[in-house]
């Protein structure tokens, strides 16, 4: 039962790693460009979950000071604050890459990576 306890204790870290690996697999191997962007988001979520888990303290309360809350254990707010910046960054990357996908679709009329590579190599041979 020792190993089960360990897994339950570290479930958020394991989840973070799982999300990271799932996202990585989609980004690298999927041929649909929009799904690759989704994979990027999943990967990012994994990193964010990891970051937020660091700040967690078992039995901790949110770091807001009330008059009667002396001696309480607070969770660490800094990782959450850092991750707010990270979320903004990933959102902007997503927006930018989606706009690129729109342009690619307008020019090639496909968003499939394999199809795109075929079209590009055909064009290169024409020249």
């Amino acid at each position: 039962m020792d190993i089960v306890d360990k897994i339950i204790e570290n479930i958020n870290y394991l989840g973070a790693i799982a999300l990271f690996v799932i996202g990585l697999r989609i980004v690298v191997l999927h041929s649909n460009l929009i799904k690759r962007i989704m994979g990027l988001n999943i990967m990012g979520t994994g990193v964010f979950l990891f970051f937020v888990s660091i700040g967690n303290v078992t039995g901790g309360v949110p770091p807001i000071i009330y008059p009667d809350s002396s001696g309480a254990v607070y969770i660490n707010p800094i990782p959450s604050v850092l991750i707010l910046t990270g979320i903004v960054v990933v959102v902007s990357i997503t927006v930018y890459s989606l706009s690129l996908v729109i342009r690619i679709y307008e020019n090639y009329e496909t968003i499939d990576q394999k199809e795109l590579s075929r079209l590009i190599s055909e064009e290169a041979n024409d020249h």
Binding site: L40, V47, F50, F51, G86, V89, I93, L100, R103, E123
Partner: protein, 495 residues
């Protein structure tokens, strides 16, 4: 004004300039160009002053909002960051003058303003990366840098730029997220994001949480390796750098990938320390990556028919040289690497700008079409030849000095095999640079009918090229004056 605020003012000048450009939309474009030049000039002067100040008086530390370093963000100007911001300011000013001479090929007139907005944001983020002393803040600046670089690549309204920008974005984002997970693991082990504080507590953390530190180092090396186009992660570079406008290819190849390698240096030597690196024999891994990159980058470059792709692959090989210097983990190695960052910056800028001028007038990017160009465009081809000879490593150029230093550093560490690789890589450089020079100066021009269509080159395009050619030779003849600054930069990185 207090001297501590000078680095912030540098960043603010760039940011304000980027904000001002859209407001000047209805005015003639010349006003924007002149204003931008004034901004670059001011930043250049303040960078030089900071360089003098940190080398003679002492390092500058600025904490934002008065929060102490462990909570807030800290900017540190030391010989390392001051030296490289100065180099970036010089190169950026040269490229800027060139780009104002109507040479931003492929960009529509209405897009010019946007191009310069992106350029100034790019410069701001690079200065930020070098000044900041906080690994999370570095991540934020890195992301600004990657978005603006992608936007600059895709600014041309051409089909292939979109796909190469997309690939660049995907690869870069993998790199950023790997770096971020490295930051998370380090924060987990030490509880800080400030580089100085992490450096102090790193030895204890390595005893207590060895696994964390090892995984963090792995993630950070891979993440920054992807961004710096270290050999096995370089696949995005040739496409991205060849499809961008020539001036931005120069910026991307000469400055942007160097900034990532400088973050790499910061992470290796300041966040982690030499003991940890030696214990995990990081040196061997880096040296193998560098050696393979030096050979393979040159081999790929030989096979290219498009001159800009060839230069892109050549950058991959040159990153191998820089990584070789860093991977030796010695004072001499780091000195050679820093010097090569400067000399490769100068040479790659010269190569891309002269090729840019040729593409602008001849509308050709094929290596085979360079026959007889030396008679039609003597300045462009002359500077191209100087820079190409520098790449090969001929004496009197800055490339020779960096290869000499690199060779001495390699011998100092008894890694003779890498001296052999260095020489083979130089010979491979000869194979792909020399035929271009020979065909440009010794063969007749293929297309005589194009002779009439050659316009007179604007002076704003010729002057930066001549300046670059001169700088390559001057740095090659008098390296000692610059070496003083480089050595103090190395000393500040490597205690």
């Amino acid at each position: 004004m207090i001297i501590e605020q000078l680095p912030i003012i540098n960043l603010l000048l760039f940011l304000l300039m980027a904000l001002f450009i859209p407001l000047l939309k209805r005015k003639p474009f010349k006003i924007t160009l002149i204003l931008g030049f004034v901004v670059l000039g001011l930043v250049f002067i303040s960078s030089v002053y900071l360089l003098w100040y940190v080398n003679n008086v002492g390092i500058i530390i600025y904490t934002f909002g008065g929060f102490e370093a462990r909570f807030g963000i800290e900017f540190v100007v030391d010989p390392f960051s001051a030296l490289f911001t100065t180099i970036i300011a010089i190169l950026a000013a040269i490229i800027y003058i060139y780009s104002s001479g109507d040479a931003t090929d492929g960009i529509e007139k209405t897009e010019y303003g946007r191009y310069y907005i992106l350029l100034f944001l790019l410069l701001m983020s690079m200065f930020g990366i070098l000044y900041t002393n906080d690994i999370f803040n570095t991540y934020v600046f890195i992301e600004i840098l990657s978005i603006t670089t992608c936007a600059i690549i895709s600014i041309k309204k051409k089909k292939d730029t979109y796909t190469s920008a997309f690939r660049y974005l995907m690869m870069n984002e993998l790199g950023s997220l790997s770096y971020l997970i490295g930051v998370a693991l380090i924060y987990m082990a030490t509880g800080y994001t400030n580089i100085t504080l992490i450096g102090e507590s790193m030895s204890n953390a390595f005893q207590a949480y060895q696994l964390n530190i090892v995984i963090a180092l792995g993630f950070m090396i891979i993440g920054l390796g992807i961004k710096a186009a270290v050999f096995p992660f370089h696949i995005w570079l040739p496409d991205a750098h060849s499809s961008a406008p020539s001036t931005s290819s120069a910026i991307l190849s000469a400055i942007v990938i160097k900034v990532y390698i400088l973050v790499f240096v910061k992470v290796l030597f300041r966040v982690f320390n030499l003991e940890i690196l030696n214990e995990m024999s990081i040196s061997t891994i880096l040296l193998i990556l560098a050696g393979v990159g030096m050979i393979m980058g040159s081999v790929f470059a030989i096979a290219q028919k498009d001159v800009k792709r060839m230069l892109g692959y050549s950058s991959v090989a040159q990153m191998g040289y820089i990584l070789l210097g860093i991977g030796l983990l010695s004072f001499e190695g780091l000195r050679a690497a820093f010097f090569h960052i400067l000399s490769h910056g100068l040479m790659k800028t010269a190569l891309f700008l002269s090729v840019g001028e040729i593409i602008f007038y001849k509308k050709t990017r094929k290596v085979n079409d360079f026959d007889g160009l030396g008679f039609i465009m003597p300045v462009a081809m002359g500077v191209f030849s100087i820079a190409a000879l520098g790449m090969i490593g001929l004496p009197l150029t800055s490339g020779f000095i960096s290869k000499l230093n690199l060779g001495m550093a390699v011998l100092d560490k008894n890694q003779t095999i890498f001296l052999v690789i260095l020489i083979i890589s130089s010979l491979l450089n000869v194979i792909y640079y020399l035929p271009i020079i020979i065909s440009a100066f010794l063969k007749n021009e293929k297309y005589h009918y194009r002779l009439e269509s050659i316009e007179k080159t604007p002076r704003t395009m010729i002057a930066p090229l001549i300046l670059l050619g001169l700088l390559i030779i001057v740095v090659g003849i008098f390296p000692n004056q610059i070496m003083v600054f480089i050595e103090s930069a190395v000393r500040s990185v490597m205690p």
